[in-house]
Amino acid sequence: MTKIKTADAVKNCRGVGCPMNMVYTKVELAKLQSGQVLELILDDGPPINNVPGSVIKEGHKILEQRQLADGAWLVLVEKG
């Protein structure tokens, strides 16, 4: 899969559990303008199962979500 948009910011939440990964995600999104993209790395398991849904609920868009070689997930979020 190719990236639809290049990220304006990157946040690596490897090793960060719920809900602090969502806190860091919100902090990063708060720094962006609407339409800008955040590249988020989330652990497999609860983080990838929870964070994207919460991000959508807060009015943002998930552009892409794919698993990396180490099992973590790369998620591209467009700020709403």
Partner: protein, 271 residues
Amino acid sequence: MIDFTSEQLERYSRHILLQDVGVEGQAKLLGAKVLIVGAGGLGAPAALYLAAAGIGTIGIVDSDTVEISNLQRQVVHFTKDIDMPKVESAKEKMLAINPGIEVKTYQECLNADNIRAIIRDYDFVVDGTDNFPTKFLVNDACVMDNIPFSHGGILRFDGQTMTVVPGKSACYRCFFRKPPPPDAVPTCSQAGVLGAIAGMLGTIQAAEALKYVTEVGELLTDTLLSFNAKTMNFRKVTLQKQKNCPICGENPTVTELIDEEQALTCNLRQY
């Protein structure tokens, strides 16, 4: 925007996670200044929750020292604090919860001469006094200086509270025109009060302060919320700003602050 430290992000994570609050809301809380009048039954929980919430500057006014009879409901004061000024006792606990805030203490009795100079520095006032003259004084000064505040009162098993945004919503004097005569008012020491209702009401007042600062939800403006702890009935009565209100009406008759009879005795007990 404030650059949060990772410790702050952890500390305030449960605020930041709220969609309505978020990082922006927490930044507003850290930048806010709230004054608590009275370090008694209502002021105690308000002080603890506002400190915990990260209100950046909290002022607290009280002229009294801690007495053993306060400890049944004034949860910011401990047995070891007896005889200590209440404002110092409260400050110690607030900073123990949250060393990242500033607490300003005013160990004095609010009166017509000093109140405006004190409240002027604040964005919001939590009125936790137990006597009518001071409640009127706080109302009048806040209306004159355009400072939103939360009114609160408790007695026996009952509590009542309303939030006033001067110029926009009904003020305390819109309904309670003037303090009742001093001999008609049962003082707290005569009437008694169930300790936990101080926590219930003071915590509602703290929530109103947080809502005002973060601009979340609907305040208890034009609304008198009352409850009775025996039945746990909560009731809201809708109020309207009165055109003939002596202070916020069209032709105000209260144009300067005065000390009502009861307020002159500084020996007032907080609820």
